[in-house]
Subunit: 291 residues, 2 copies
């Protein structure tokens, strides 16, 4: 019974949001409107809960950063991959959930359509270059998954090439993990109705016009094909070292809290301690005193 | 009288902190303990004032970012150069004064000792690569000024080469400004006593050990030489398109407020408006409605 109670307490958001594997069908299997694991009552106390987790996150991130500065050879790093359809909130998560950490230890990279130079290389070439350095947290706004999402739906590469990429991604992520990078892949899951409402909101507020791109409507019109492509990516690239998490994202407040909490749990699991001094403390104090 | 009153109101922090030119002697000419232009009473209301300016800063930064997304050809950008001796607070400014902006539009780069590859190029090669893209704000934690600061004091380059660099920097900055980048160079000015106290604090708290490097004491021992090198850089590279600002930095709360305010004033001067839609609003609304 004690064991059971302990287990209950330890149920983590990782466990709750972890993609379960098998043949995933994101629309059938996951509710974009849910709030699993949220400890409060809803929107009204979300700011408070998110602030609390942000404070722990900032503290842990500084420890990770410190480990990178003092012992780069052994320091770990973290990669957060954010994927989701337009309006799912990749930018919002970066701003409100992850943007509170110290910019010094964070590397945010938004993957756009590949440049001419990037197209001349394997699709993972440009991704490798943006991986976190020791002690860093890299945040990918879109990622190599676009190479099996938009590229699949829009037929931007031959079917055999798309096929090849799933295993290539798994190998790439396994190699990255083996070098000491913890990988958290978040699929920000919004419903069709919520996406429509957010797209419309961008057309109704002059401060949001810049976020609207007519191409986004073309993409939205291929909803089913994108859901199928996401389901495939979650089915084929969900590995123990690089798991997918499905983040219900119809509520922005839940989405932000959830991603911050997932990252906090990950950092907590690293048992990060403050680095010991690699110099003689007393001798250095004497030198500073003599300044 | 009306004119005078208006002028009084418009006295900006830019005017107050702008390096006055002529033969600068930073220790003689500038008080690291001052709080020029601060509207409040001191430390106790600094959080409130800094929060207020952060909110305006975030709003303006989003407009700048929006302009880069919608009209990259004409969008401006901003470069903030942070220089100062160890403990002056470059990291603190990034975290507390600038870190509140949306990471998506911000590019933070810390310049370390040049790598082997970087050494094979002109000293400005690695700097050029980190300049802000249209709509971006780049924040340099150290910069090309190290090439006339540490490199001068530690004699890491021939005297003629160091000499050459001042004009090279002025030309580089003028070319950068001409391409639409506003440049704000901040010298974070701490006193010798305050530096000593901050170095000691790093040796008295296990959460700060990682920030201490014995080399910093060597640097601190060459205080006069560094002050001379800074004075020279401020004398020779203080141009209308790339001015230096001297930020009194003995009070962290003032320093943070001041840098956030300088950047806010700069963005305000750009008269940034939200971009007009470059699509037919009604037609797009109809398309979204039909989703």
């Amino acid at each position: 019974m004690g064991h059971h109670a302990t287990h209950q307490q330890q149920t983590s958001l990782h466990d709750l949001l972890r993609c379960q594997g098998g043949d995933v069908n994101v629309e059938r299997d996951y509710d974009p409107d849910g709030t699993p694991g949220y400890p409060g009552e809803g929107r009204k106390d979300a700011e408070e809960y998110t602030l609390a987790v942000s404070e722990e996150l900032s503290d842990l991130q500084e420890r990770l950063y410190a480990s990178g500065l003092t012992d780069a050879e052994h320091a770990l790093s973290v990669l957060v991959v954010l994927q989701g359809l337009d309006t799912a909130g990749k930018g919002g998560v970066i701003r409100h959930a992850l943007g509170t950490m110290d910019p010094q230890g964070i590397h945010v990279h938004a993957f756009k359509a590949p440049t001419q130079e990037e197209k001349q290389h394997d699709f993972l070439w440009r991704v490798e270059r943006e991986l976190p350095r020791p002690g860093q947290i890299a945040i990918f706004d879109r990622s190599h998954y676009e190479d099996v999402l938009i590229q699949r739906v829009e037929q931007m590469a031959a079917p055999e090439e798309i096929e090849r990429r799933y295993d290539a991604i798994n190998q790439f992520e396994a190699a990255t993990a083996a070098r000491g990078t913890r990988i958290i892949k978040c699929f920000l899951h919004v419903s069709r109705a919520e996406q429509k409402s957010r797209l419309m909101a961008r057309l109704e507020n002059k401060e949001k016009f810049y976020k609207f791109n007519p191409d986004d409507v073309d993409t939205a019109q291929r909803w089913d094909q994108y859901m199928e492509a996401y389901s495939l990516a979650l089915t084929r690239c969900n590995t123990p070292v690089a798991p997918w998490y499905v983040i219900p994202s119809d509520h922005k407040w839940y989405r932000n809290w959830a991603v911050a909490t997932l990252l906090t749990e990950e950092l907590r699991s690293l048992s990060l301690t403050w680095p010991e001094p690699d110099f003689d403390l007393a001798a250095q104090k004497a030198r500073v005193q003599a300044l």
